[in-house]
Amino acid sequence: MPHRLEITLKSDLLDAEGKGICNKAASYFDIKIDDIRTVHVITMDVDLSADQLQTVRTEIFTNPVTQISSYDPLSLAFDWCIWVGYRPGVKDNPGSTAVEAIEDVLNIRLAPGEDVYTSRRFCLSGDHLNRSDAEMVADELLSNDIIQQVRVFAKEEWDQNVGIGYIIPKVKLDHTPTVSTIPMDSDAALMQVSDERNLALNENDVPVIRSYFNNPEVRSQRKHIGLTQPTDVELEYISQARSDHCNHNTFRGVFTYTDFETGKTETVDNLFKTYIEAPTLFLKEKKDWVISVLWDNAGVGRFDENHYYVITGETHNSPSNMEAYGGAITGIVGVYRDPLGTGLGSKLVMGSYGFCVGDRDYSGDLKPRLHPRRLLDGVIEGVRDGGNKSGIPTGFGQVTFHPGYMGKCLVFVTALGIMPALAAGKPSELKTTSPGELIVMCGGRVGKDGIHGVTASSETFSAHTPAGHVQIGDPYTQKKMHDFLLEARDEGLIPHITDNGGGGLSSSIGESAMMSNGCEVYLEKVPLKYDGLDQWEIWVSESQERMTVSVKPENIDRFMALSAKHAVESTVIGKYTDSGKLHISYNGETCAYVNMDLLKSGFPEWEFEAQWYPPQQRGLYEPVIAEPKNFNAVLLDLLVRPNICSKQWITRQYDHEVQGGSVIKPLVGKDRDVYSDATVIRPVLSSSKGLVFSQALLPMYSAIDAYHMTTCTIDEAIRRMVAVGGNPDHIGGVDNFCWPSIQYDPDKNPDGRFKAAQLVRSCRALYDMCMAYGIPLLSGKDSMYVDGHLPGKYGESHKVSALETMQFSTVGVTDNIEKCVTMDVKSAGDLVYILGETRNELGGSEYYDLFGCIGKNVPQVFTEKFIPTYNALFSAIGKGLVASAHGIYRGGLGIHLSMIAMGGNLGLDIDLACVPAGDILRNDTLLFSESAGRFLVTVAPQLRDKFEEICADISCACIGSVTPSSTLAIRDAQGNPLISVAVADLKAAWKKPFGTLV
């Protein structure tokens, strides 16, 4: 007999959550709700006595000061009541901690099958509300049918004695695990099975797979251990390993690239090797701070003689697009396992986010699964809970709005860690598995989670089928595991560690067993969330919060004791061997027996046609716009644009102070409300060295040329670091490509060849920039297929593809954090300098976009000119000559003069005539061109000569001064007043769009 406890705040206390929902309902849907009271429901499917029920009610689940509770439905007045609970199999984190607490307080252990489930009901007041209002709130604000179930009760439908009833979202599979063999009489037959079973085998791989299993020697070996046809476990293993996600077939593909400007056709074999691996290997030799790249879960650089930093970046787009909160929290918590699984394991010290979504106020005819506004709310909250509850500062982030992301949103998550150079006396960047070592799975349990990623999302739901394909990350479980594994590392118990992400055990064991050249895995030992999983499901499940660790037999007792102390579940599930075989069994029966070298045996490369048409051939041109007369208005209208305006409400939800090492925070300035160029942290508290980190994202330029999108993105990320005092000689890079599908199809992807050419060009730009600036790529990932098919007004659907997008992250080390500078102007009377030249480069700019134009003159990067500028600024900051420094980014000079003025709450007096700009005379070009390579720097008058001396050989001009007037005053090329706006008005405009959000 289950028990249902309802808990709510005492009526005299403000229900902040309820108030928040009221506000959203009003502003999103114009539904006015007088009041909402939230009721937390805990359904205990546990055999408990009356006394035990009272104990858990009073001691755990009810705060005597703030809450009331009852095992009968609480009688709260409402006009509509909405109940929201999870579907079976969805991770219910509060449910799990409730079990822990109940077992602790009652000193009992729940029996198999017993469990605790949490849900909520919302009591809406407002006698004018009708059912469609209530259902709108239920479906569009409170629940997502992929992971949740909902009931809506009208006042008169509610039975106070019954309440919501007893809803137990328990997974019941009633299925006996079975291994099935796959007939492969012909390529076609195997391909058909692949489609039926969602194996997603590439048809070019099928002959290779068949010839392997038909090989006489292989057959006789298999016969020997009782196998004939390939099993589903084996094909799942091959399919996972060969997937684009794990094997990066696109980046390793062969591109036939035709440039219709030059008419030349050439072949690029393997973008990864040519444009990413090659420069990184070359630079590794030149930069002694590069410790480990290109093979592990993340890249490693030197922080100081005793510490290494670790960095990687990921995306979690498709799941976030389906379930924003769950996808995003799974993404951030997931990327945090990469540094933890790098080398012998590193401590997480910082995270960052990048969100790309459609127009937040979209009101057109397309119907995305989640409206961009709701999607953004969800991913913000997901990264908030994932980061904050992990105790890792979220030090940096960016948001980009563009209609192209309506088809699929982008959620970038980046993670930085720190590890000692030596762990228990061993080099921490090295790791390997050896025959005889035990394979231990630590952390969470295995369910049907994430099997075949989101391809499973087309499944229809029954009352008890697990909705596992969309997951909800569990930072609590992972934080316990993180602390445990670092302690085990320091005791020298971990020769090898890696995380379970895409592909689950199939990837983590499959890859780590390559080092010892074999493994035996006993699938029946893998702890499950519920019975009834097939062997192949256990093998490929992507259930979160799991690491795979190798442990020497003589250390296993100590390892398990530490695991128990930290309340982390660890299980020996097999051992590494040197048999040359991946050998998987279940209760003694072999279900997979594959040569470790199969994956290296000549699988065909993917092939792509790439066709480049330069902008002029695509009919792009510079728009014919005469100079505006009212520049005050233009400036203010640019400041309120979504991609320029303040998004402070996001930043403040993220803990960027935890770990006690913040130096330059995401928000700086007099009112602590303007964005810093980069983030600096002190990851080793006793050291005065700092880790400098920044990111850039400029997809708009891809509308003209992805080559220049890439160069400008990288240049911005570099300038952001240099602006705070980062050293141009130590810049590590992380590339995250997010591209629409590039495989040409006359009907489904008619412009695939062009998008493929954009990818080739982008990779070339990446190579050129890395070589010119000396940036080894410490890590990187690619996520293809950023397209969506959205239903339209008439029952038709539209393919919406994202702009070709690359996020670039830069990381470096500063020797003395106290030399760092921030972007806000500091003192009236200081001189304002501009470094770098302004060119006629309005193509793809925010200014053109204001008029709905793209243009053609996309900004370009001239590294030979820029590098001396960056070195000069670095040395000026190092000598303490710079009061503030800020790069000129999206929006151009006008916007970024506004930023530094708002930062210091001081005025500026600026002469456009002094801006080095070749023969440009137009004020709009001077003010809004987005030319790369530029900075705004302020200098105390008495330091003028010293500063100008350092900048003697670069483009550097004093364009005015900081004034106490707190007005931004700009004179045009002829010296006439052009702009005069109070800094307070600039800030009011800049904060207007999202200023009321908290």
Binding site: L13, L14, A16, K19, G20, E59, I60, F61, N63, P64, V65, T66, N93, P94, T97, A98, E100, A101, D104, V105, T118, N388, K389, S390, G391, D474, P475, Y476, K480, D483, H566, A567, T651, R652, Q653, Y654, D655, H656, E657, V658, Q659, G660, G661, S662, V663, K665, V668, K670, R672, R682, L685, S686, E818, V821, T822, D824, K826, S827, A940, V998
Partner: protein
């Protein structure tokens, strides 16, 4: 005896996460700080008797599900409740920071009226703003408070990072806290005058702008802001601006903001003098 280093215990495990910087802050203050897993105290492998200062630090114990600090309090009360009260009664110091503050009010270590360290009569609940918030706040210190940790402070700036920091209790309890001078610090506007519930100076809507309280003896202290996160000049949001002022002779390096280390120094000094 004062030459003997004072030992402080910083709790870890189950989702707590400020232990490293808190231990660092205590060492800057002159203590020896050990980070100890909650289970190591429960199983007896570490004894509270070896320590003079016990820190319930920040974090998300048990994910803060079912109320921040609730399950941590339940676990500790049921396993080492008597050892905790004995630790307090023996004249030692306890500080609860953020999640630790939430935990010790749920344990009943605060407010500790009439030497009753079990009674749960105040709470920290959801911020009025409805969300987790990271920001720096100004605290006005009550100089008449017996609080050991805030001695000789008038105001201090510290970061807050929480979603459940709104201090609530019924009027009788509140007035008793005031009468006993147990309200050790309150949210204030930058000039030190009361925030009077004004957001964001009072970031969570706490009654009477209460940011931290102590027990009647002043030896048990809990607060929402994070003193350990202001352990270096460069943690302060204005440091780059202050650095410029110093460079220009507009500010002398002595008059920089007091860091959170002072709060831990007060604790260490109290123990040294009382044991000295």
């Amino acid at each position: 005896m004062t030459t003997l280093k004072i030992k402080a215990l910083v709790l870890t495990g189950y989702g707590l996460n400020c232990d490293i910087e808190t231990a660092y802050a205590l060492e800057l203050a002159g203590a020896i700080a050990d980070r100890v897993h909650i289970n190591a105290i429960i199983d007896g492998s570490v004894s509270l008797d070896d320590y003079k200062i016990l820190v319930f630090g920040g974090g998300f114990s048990w994910g803060d599900d079912h109320g921040a600090g609730v399950i941590q309090a339940v676990r500790m009360k049921h396993n080492i409740g008597s050892r905790l009260t004995r630790f307090v009664e023996n004249g030692n110091l306890v500080i609860g920071i953020c999640n630790g503050f939430q935990t010790i009010v749920n344990l009943g270590l605060l407010p500790g009226f009439d030497n009753d360290y079990q009674n749960r009569s105040v709470a920290l609940t959801y911020n009025d703003c409805g969300n987790f918030r990271d920001d720096w706040v100004t605290l006005a210190i009550n100089s008449d408070s017996p609080c050991v940790f805030t001695k000789n402070l008038t105001t201090i700036e510290l970061p807050v990072r929480h979603g459940e920091g709104k201090f609530v209790a019924d009027e009788k309890i509140i007035s008793r806290l005031i009468d006993n001078q147990q309200v050790a610090c309150q949210y204030a506007i930058p000039d030190g005058t009361p925030a009077d519930k004004k957001f964001p100076y009072n970031p969570n809507g706490s009654m009477l702008d209460i940011a931290g309280i102590c027990d009647p003896s002043g030896r048990v202290f809990g607060l929402m802001p994070h003193p350990e996160a202001f352990n270096h000049f460069t943690n302060h949001p204005d440091w780059s601006c202050l650095k410029e002022k110093i460079k220009r002779g507009e500010l002398d390096a002595e008059s920089l903001p007091v860091t959170g280390i002072r709060i831990f120094e007060n604790a260490v000094n109290f123990i040294s003098s009382s044991s000295g």
